[in-house]
Point group: C3
Chain length 264, copies 3
């Protein structure tokens, strides 16, 4: 069930395009280009920066911070904490994308510490990443390693309550929750899983929406709606990943009241 109404989504997307918020990304090497282009296509303004020397100043001009641990290393992790704490002190939204949490303890531990120390406003990952964080003690409930998305949702609700963050789980159905309310978005296209960086783009775009809508549950939902609609539009024009990626960027840019009206 999508709790964000069509009219509000259209209005907020319009606001995003008018404000062109600067989203500061500390993200992985693989997707930097795609994330920057996704933000540009939807109407936001991206900056990628990771040097400790410029973290404070860069955060000070940004409207949102997105931290993604996809290709982390020590220097970068240091910058993530610095930027994250600065962003919280400044009061701009912080989005965490715990890429690969669960795959290695370095990732799980880094994500866990970022959640505890920085207290991100939105945590966006896939079901297995969210469950790995839960297993690592972000919340106390036991987790089956082969859990269904329903149990991921229960875990996400508890994690939201415990951390104060909105949890956004992407998948065939996206679930977004603040621990009480649950929004679900069932849009998108299977080819989104055949290109790298769609999840990362969703996190960056969550930052863009959170910068113009301080109800982060709504903002995180709006980001998944935007991703889902662009995925649907692209899927109607592509039957393979290369073309799909091109049309996906086109669709973020061309998404308008008419396209949204057809799909929401």
């Amino acid at each position: 069930m999508i709790m964000v109404q069509k009219e509000q989504f259209i209005k907020d997307l319009e606001k995003l395009r008018q404000n062109a918020p600067l989203v500061h990304n500390i993200t992985n090497y693989v997707v930097m280009n795609t994330s920057a282009n996704s933000l540009l296509s939807i109407g936001a303004s991206p900056v990628m920066a990771h040097a400790i020397e410029e973290m404070r100043e860069m955060v000070s001009i940004a409207s949102a911070l997105m931290i993604n641990i996809g290709t982390l290393s020590n220097k970068w992790v240091e910058a993530m904490f610095l930027a994250g704490n600065e962003a919280k002190a400044k009061g701009i939204p912080v989005i965490l994308d715990p890429v690969g949490a669960g795959a290695t303890s370095y990732r799980t531990d880094t994500a866990k510490k970022l959640i505890e120390d920085v207290q991100p406003d939105i945590i966006r990952g896939n079901a297995s990443e969210i469950m790995a964080l839960a297993k690592a003690g972000i919340q106390t409930k036991g987790v089956d390693s082969t859990a269904e998305s329903d149990s991921a949702l229960d875990i996400a609700k508890e994690m939201a309550k415990k951390t104060g963050a909105v949890i956004s789980i992407s998948g065939k159905t996206d679930y977004i929750t603040d621990g009480e309310t649950v929004h679900s978005v069932e849009k998108g296209h299977p080819l989104m899983g055949k290109i790298t960086g769609t999840g990362c783009a969703a996190s960056s775009i969550s930052g863009a929406f959170a910068s113009i809508n301080n109800n982060y549950l709504e903002a995180a939902t709006e980001a998944m709606i935007a991703m889902g609609i662009a995925g649907e539009m692209a899927g109607e024009q592509a039957d393979a990943p290369g073309t799909f990626q091109v049309k996906f960027l086109d669709s973020l840019y061309k998404m308008d009241e008419k396209e949204i009206g057809k799909r929401l």
Copy 2:
């Protein structure tokens, strides 16, 4: 006013394609792929390398060096100085792209020091980057933070005189000046601003032209003409950023006497 004649541009582009000059890029993570593909598409040969251990040797086989501070950090900055000084000693053209100068003092200072120490032959940036450098004391005239492109041009002329570099300002109208003569290029397409890396590609391609035309004022102008024509060609085939990017690379590759003739 474009001071480079059509015939010369065609001749130099042909020479570039025959020579396939090796352009060494020390550039940011976001655009590495796009810059490499832009150089390949126009007919040059890219190399990306940043390890201090191989800077001297890599510069020794290159025909131009392009330094871009888009995602700088200390180790990389060290490599930029090493490569820059080696390139100047060897006599190959050095292009500086001061990405984000003005956004943080780390960037502004690094760009300033590179200009003073390495003395690049061409500095290519947007108006606000060039003005930030001027404000930082690269030249003495005061700068309004909300200056028009005309005042950016005046500043660029003074900066060119003071630094000895050709200053290339990209924008709706590109201005290229050595402090005396000013070339302007009014080509391109608005979608160039909706994909990441067009400015960075312009800097890399400036390096390619500078390696085959040692009149750097002309070379920097030729690069902006090539970018502008490719942008126009792509804009005729695309109405959104994803497709535009693909067609832009295609156009760098397909640009020929006929296409140039139609547009110059």
Copy 3:
């Protein structure tokens, strides 16, 4: 002469798509996105990771390791050795792509040490890279710097015998040898040389095939067949590099019995 039969290639590609092997890439910044998307398009699962802190764990969940020295630096080289040795100890295939060997001694030496210490199962490079390694003492025969592909093949055979690795030389004709048998693949398209990262993708895809066919001579050949067929398919739909790259990814994804049957 292609020694891998059409039926086997179809069967192994099918197996690859069913298994979706996780290929761990320690690779260069320029191609990370393209390599990840190439692996996804053909049906494998990519992970990019380079932090020493997570090398052992990441290797432990991977089905193949691909090491590419395209934008190397010291920390990364350390991770390459760590991951390489772990992968060998675990018994998963290790592919080395010695990008730019011969261009700088840092690259040549690193590649040489990786070969001696890690003992990769497949070494995939272009003729000049393979010859640079030979010159550096990977094997003893003298090398002309302007050698033909025939002499590259002789060198590759000796290198294979000396190192125990399958040597895969890409070019207009690809040669793959274990020192005794030589497979050749004459497929592909000239535009493959006008986009960055096709060689790197070939190495990653070699890892994917090696994870499902432990005859590494066959696996390395199958990778070049897949690249060559995708190149042919893309070349029929594109006349310039931007479009070619998009169609190349599409073709890795869409390659099926019918397309393979037409071309093998």
